[in-house]
């Protein structure tokens, strides 16, 4: 099970990184959001994997999964959500303003002058 989780995590990360490196804003943002979910699962896995013992204190069981990483993941999920929404909107506005959804705000065809750079 652990192995599978690790592999899945790796696969998702790889896809996230690949998308992150695309030239258009939308895939880039998808990559970012995928990357943050990968990070979340990673955090979660740092508390080791235990099935069937949720950390909800009750009289019957004394066995609980590690609650701390879960709390961290919750925080991370929320922040990740906020960031994704923000950069998505940013991408939309950039497209609106520059007419291109290229991550550099201009179609590669348009030959650049040094003034656009830096």
């Amino acid at each position: 099970m652990e192995l599978m989780v690790s592999l899945g995590l790796g696969a998702v990360t790889a896809c996230a990184v690949y998308l992150l490196l695309r030239a258009r804003t939308f895939p880039m943002v998808l990559g970012l959001s995928l990357l943050s979910s990968a990070a979340n699962v990673f955090i979660f896995s740092m508390g080791r994997l235990r099935s069937g013992i949720p950390p909800i204190v009750n009289s019957e069981t004394t066995g609980y999964a590690d609650p701390l990483p879960q709390a961290l993941v919750l925080t991370a999920i929320v922040i990740g959500f906020g960031m994704t929404g923000f950069i998505m909107a940013l991408a939309v506005r950039a497209r609106y303003q520059t007419g291109s959804d290229h991550v550099d705000g201009m179609e590669p065809a348009a030959n650049r002058t040094p003034a656009d750079e830096s």
């Binding site: 992150l20 990070a39 609980y64 961290l72 923000f86 520059t98 705000g105 830096s118």
Partner: protein
């Protein structure tokens, strides 16, 4: 119970929340709140500065949960120093922005206050994950502030800035949780102890986490090759925001210092100095790269942005060489550069504004109003940043060189620092003589913006600070030496945070509540 430590975080947060609720109120009210709050923050910062000095670090257990379980705020000399710098800069920026910049964007003041909250929180927190949260606070605030007023360049710059930093945040999460996974704790002081005792087979993991963190902080500090977002973002940001950002790179530097001296600070042999093979070369490259950038810049703001990076390079290369003297020199340089970079950004703004369409481009342009004063302002900034005596830059450079002349790294260090100083000197004289001397038309056709009083006050405060760094250099240096000494031997800090007895804090976690 000393609540002082919580104020720098809660005060701006609450004020910002109020401003959001009252966002329909006239901006004058927001200005009053903003300036007032920053004023209070400065007072509080001084109070903490005064208290953190003599005694052991101040510790504040949030929610009354003891460390390492709960989140604690810790103020040692370093944190106090950073808080003070932030508050100073905050006040200056609030004053400056209140002269009209803030009206051009939306929600400037709440965002600005949240930004301050994020900075203060990052400087105060003693918990690594909480540090992440505050990084996010100050980042999202800085995105919004950079965006103020929108425009093509800003959008593009912010998109790049945000993309790189959001990606870096994911790495931050991975590194922090990795540390938790291996050591089972998140409190930095506690981490230091755990890492010192890490079993041999876990060393690689712990070091990997540490180096990833170094990278993450390197992004914030604009350390080569993670700096790419900075020049565009800083040079396109509104001037007051850019001025505020001169502390933003310092947060990365602060975190790196903490990482190096606290979290990986106890030399237990197992984990040898984490940063050694990486930090010095990267920092020197950063310094050279940035200086070349400043040298070839075609706008004052871009020059200032690259000089921000250059200061990072200088400070971190000094930090990398370790040793109390070097650390103390680095801290002096940190304080100096924070102030002078702000001076540069503000003067670039004032000059650019009074040159009409030419802006702050380094091309011959119209005669500017108040050429005398603005010239003096730029001369001051340029001379300081280029390290001309008797200004703070000179002292900083002397300290850096003095503290690094032993050892094998001395030769490259000295060469780079001296050569880049010459280049910076030339770059500043070039910029100044083009913008202020090489005048095409007598006066701009359109009425140039007048200098507003608040802007002058803000500017004067900065200049005064820069001068005080020289006049009161002796006591300041004493403070920095003590700070460096604290950092070199973190045990008192750790004891202050964790208390004397630490047995049973960590338990083998078998998924059952131990009792």
């Amino acid at each position: 119970m000393n609540h002082l430590l919580a104020v720098p975080i809660i005060l701006p947060a609450v004020m910002a929340a109020l401003l959001l609720i009252l966002h329909r109120a006239p901006i004058a009210a927001a200005r009053v709140v903003s300036v007032g709050a920053t004023g209070c923050l400065l007072g509080v910062a001084f109070a903490i500065f005064a208290q953190a000095g003599p005694s052991a670090p101040l510790v504040y257990a949030l929610g009354n949960w003891p460390a390492p379980f709960g989140i604690v705020l810790v103020a040692d000399r370093l944190s106090a120093l950073m808080l003070t710098l932030t508050a100073l800069l905050g006040l200056v920026v609030a004053l400056y922005a209140a002269q009209g910049w803030d009206a051009k964007g939306r929600f400037f003041h709440p965002l600005f206050l949240f930004q301050l909250m994020g900075l203060n929180g990052a400087f105060l927190t003693g918990d690594l994950f909480n540090l992440f949260v505050f990084f996010e606070v100050l980042l999202i605030a800085s995105y919004c502030l950079t965006l103020q007023g929108l425009g093509r360049e800003r959008l593009r710059a912010t998109l790049h800035y945000a993309a790189l930093n959001i990606a870096a945040s994911s790495v931050f999460l991975i590194a922090v949780s990795l540390l938790y996974g291996v050591t089972g704790t998140l409190n930095m002081a506690h981490l230091a102890e755990r890492i010192a005792r890490v079993p041999a087979e876990d060393i690689a993991l712990v070091r990997a986490a540490g180096l990833l963190l170094l990278g993450v902080f390197g992004v914030k500090a604009a350390l080569f090759p993670l700096h790419f977002w900075l020049p565009a973002a800083y040079s396109s940001a509104p001037a007051p925001v850019a001025a505020l950002f001169s502390i933003m790179t310092k947060i990365g530097i602060y975190a790196i210092i903490r990482l190096k001296t606290l979290v990986y600070g106890i030399d237990a042999g197992a984990v040898m100095d984490l940063t050694t093979p990486w930090l010095l070369p990267c920092a020197l490259v950063t310094l050279s790269f940035a200086t070349i950038g400043a040298f070839g810049a075609d706008r004052l703001a871009i020059m200032a942005a690259y000089l921000t990076m250059a200061s990072t390079g200088t400070i971190l290369s000094t930090v990398a060489l370790g040793g109390a003297a070097a650390l103390s020199a680095a801290l002096y340089y940190l304080a100096h550069s924070t102030v002078v970079i702000a001076v540069l950004f503000l003067s670039a703004d004032l000059i650019g504004r009074s040159r009409g369409d030419m802006g702050d481009a380094l091309h011959p342009g119209p005669q500017i109003r108040h050429a005398g004063w603005l010239g003096l302002a730029f001369l001051f900034g340029g001379a300081t940043v280029a390290g001309l005596p008797p200004l703070s830059g000179f002292l900083g450079k002397v300290l850096v060189l003095q503290s690094t002349q032993e050892g094998s790294a001395a030769a490259p260090m000295w060469t780079v620092v001296l050569v880049t100083s010459v280049l910076t000197l030339i770059a500043c004289t070039r910029a100044g003589s083009i913008v202020l001397w090489n005048v095409t038309e007598p006066l701009p056709g359109r009425p140039a913006h007048p200098l507003r009083r608040g802007e002058l006050i803000a500017f004067t405060i900065l200049v005064a600070c820069s001068l005080m760094l020289v006049v009161f250099a002796a006591p300041l240096l004493r403070y920095f030496d003590e700070t460096a000494a604290d950092l070199i031997s973190p045990t008192p800090y750790i004891d202050a945070v964790l208390g004397s007895s630490r047995d049973g804090v960590i338990k083998p976690y078998a998924g059952v509540s131990g009792d």
